[in-house]
Subunit: 284 residues, 4 copies
């Protein structure tokens, strides 16, 4: 079954759902999924709708144009349409820790994710062998203060050549430049090893240990130019006790990080996330 | 703001959402909430919709009739409409344990719940003083094998006289007769002190202790004629260890039970639950 | 069974457990509980031990003296001994919200807690009726900037007259003065309605809403002179979504707050908490 | 640092901790870890103790003999001693699903686990490539009703030749024979994809879907001759809704299963589990 997925938001007004579902129905589309939400504070309407394209009267290549003309302009809408036969292309950035990388590669190899992963990029050679186990090209860019601008240009060239749609920072211990962030708006997913906004920045497990918290967390979010402050996609926590050392926190945290990151990536691949004003709407 | 809440289910077909939302919109109703769901296995469409009645063109007393004629018959629909100015009336049944009772009375007294609680019924006098603290009439029916049929008739008469809409069994340690259950279909809420379907029946904490589980649970469900087998509304668990005795389980379980029961009752009061084939659809 | 509970910490060295358990055993005490822990970073030994006093050879009133002379001085120990027939005395401070107060009073009235609650103090009259339902004296001190010093003196006099051992701030929306904090070191328990150290200070639910977190939390901690920065006793979180408004967060948070606070108070009553360097050791 | 780990249980009596810790201390051992627990119902004392062997006066090869003579016989003790320089040897059994296997191999390869994994056994060829990615020999025994007895003999021969200490059934969809189970008492770890004792046996996710539960679980346990009824090591749950199909449950369950199984395996590798009367004591 080939489907289209439409994600949109616009100022709320009465009749939007009736009008938008009618668009699909009268054109012989069969809605297989619909979720909508109204932010009554901002007065914004959000919707995600998926429909079967088999008997849909509007040709695939014209849907975006028709939708823009008939609805988007009229309702001041922001929207995106994705088609199920176009797999998103994902790049993974890693440094030295393997747990998130292995977790994603295992899902990818088992066919759990409708995604292509044409390459892995790192600032260290350490995980070359992990990439090779799964037959994915691994590129090392040993970024430091002096060569950062130049090597990021090379990275971005490589990403463009591989038609990368989005980037996953799988415990990548480098700050991404503003230029790269702006090239992939809401398309760079990071995993931060704390329950944000607690413990922003470096060494959150050390900070958690020092503060004596009773739960540690992990947060997956879109990267924006402000450090660890982008729209949050997913968070979770696990219980610790006074007996846990920093090393215990790091180890317990690994399980959290990989699950939280993979949940976020899965939602992104399935086009279930809409960002608005530094927050995310996560559709069912 | 006076609103109407419509809950319905019917065989799924294309165009239902457009048609139903259109009904509100063309009659000048403003939809303040909509949630729908399609069970693709059973091919059933479920919806919950709430709209502002202020400018709604159809008079309140005729909405049900109009809806039946225009939609329900045509689409083989089951539906219910609730109006926000009609508070549901709830009876609480208790035995000797007070934790669920106090939790509900505290919410009720603080005005958290849009409900009336005109009476508490018990098979024991123990919680009379708890009821008195909150000024709610407390009736004791000391049910035993011999007088059960007769006392239940008296209970049902009392419930009818008080226009009770639904009953909450707050650790009521008596089995309700089939007749009473059938008089309140999907309107008797029980809290069972286990993670159902594990540990059905009496003494689930003892059974959990003997089995050596690492989590204990609580389950809130609608009562049907099969013991502990009705549609589940809400469940939760808490971690235990080998160090916990049966008494520890009972104590840890109390917090679970009261929270799980109160969450279920709140959803019921807010008309967010639809039962279908021994399962619940819980709207957002 | 009358027991003694000993909590202690001292610099770690080999043989401490053998020596300390031997003290009980040779004096005909029967250890009913023992938990110990070594902080290998700080090199500190922590222990909690409870023993049956029935045949214990050392008279109750001399245990502290003997223990000081025989062990504490020798090992540079800090320790406290509690006897099971001495109920701790607890004061509750509230403002306007009742959920934590009711939760504690329900437990107290049901006999779950081995504590006396001789009084409730508030800066508002709102919860007078709640206190009256449970027959506990309620004192209003309408503190403001101008009268704070004077009224706190009156509060402290009242606390002393009632032999209060510890204070629970059950959503008390006033900052306690340094003098009062220092009079009850590690004996003032607060509930903060966030997952500390995230969202310190006022209006944490508003801050959580603005940041777009996917979990909200509550934290119970001992009060120190630095706001919301004292030793954490207990934390927990609950999942939220983009659909939750600030009001939803406040309501979902109430359940968290009362459970987290009551768990902390219960541990304090049971003398299961040792504070060390702004962190807590929580014994089993 | 080379250490010894002692796990034991025996009938409880006063003075055991003092006596046993004294054994280490007087022989110049330094206790780096101690956890004990008394089951007051069964009146059984459980202890786990780890000490540095560097200056320990009793030679390693004589410790077991000395301990037996001096303590075990006297106190009717069951005990085991493990030395940190002897890595346990683990075999993994799989069928067709890869998620648990990959999770364990990723941890193993990253050096998180102090274990050797000399082989993987399967009744299907499907995961051969997964094993090859990590360079671990993969043996297929296509067991069916007719050849089961014979192929299990071959499997057991292979396990013996590889000095396997314990077996992990990582979603191995075959029932192990009584003979094999008895050859590895408390040394075969299974992951069952439900919250046991709910949904014992085949197709638990289908059963969970049909029952309409609001949480699904996973349980790791030692295998005994009664199906899914052995001592539970670890359990966890995750929230589902009416929207989740059986396929959704299977997918959400995978994350649970792999984490719950890996937690159990880690505790087994670290010798933190003692089984007693079909329940486990899990030391910190």
């Amino acid at each position: 079954m080939k489907t289209a997925k439409l994600l949109l938001h616009c100022p709320d007004k009465p009749g939007l759902i009736a009008e938008l579902t009618d668009f699909i129905t009268v054109n012989n589309g069969n809605i297989v999924y619909l979720d909508q939400y109204v932010d009554h504070v901002e007065k914004i309407f959000f919707m995600r709708m998926e429909w079967d394209l088999e008997n849909f009267l509007i040709p695939v290549e014209k849907i975006e144009d028709f939708f823009t003309t008939l609805y988007a302009q009229k309702h001041d809408m922001h929207f995106k349409i994705y088609f199920s036969d176009r797999k998103p292309r994902m790049a993974i950035f890693v440094s030295k820790m393997s747990h998130c990388l292995y977790d994603m590669l295992a899902r990818y190899t088992a066919g759990e994710w409708n995604v292509d992963i044409p390459l892995i990029i790192s600032n260290h050679p350490d995980l070359q062998s992990a990439a090779e186990r799964f037959g994915i090209p691994y590129y090392v860019f040993p970024i430091n203060k002096d060569n950062k601008a130049e090597l990021e240009q090379q990275e971005m060239k490589l990403l463009r050549e591989n038609n990368i749609d989005f980037i996953v920072l799988a415990r990548y211990m480098q700050i991404i430049s503003e230029e790269m962030i702006k090239s992939y708006p809401n398309n760079i997913i990071n995993i931060h090893h704390s329950f944000l906004p607690a413990f922003v920045g470096a060494k959150p497990y050390h900070a958690a240990y020092t503060r004596g918290v009773k739960l540690i967390g992990a947060t997956s979010h879109y990267v924006t130019t402000e450090l660890d402050a982008g729209p949050i996609i997913e968070q979770d926590v696990t219980r610790i006790t006074h007996k846990d050392t920093v090393v215990d926190l790091v180890n317990k945290g690994k399980d959290l990080e990989k699950i939280v990151l993979s949940r976020a990536v899965q939602k992104h691949i399935d086009h279930k996330i809409l960002s608005y004003k530094n927050k995310t709407v996560i559709f069912n």
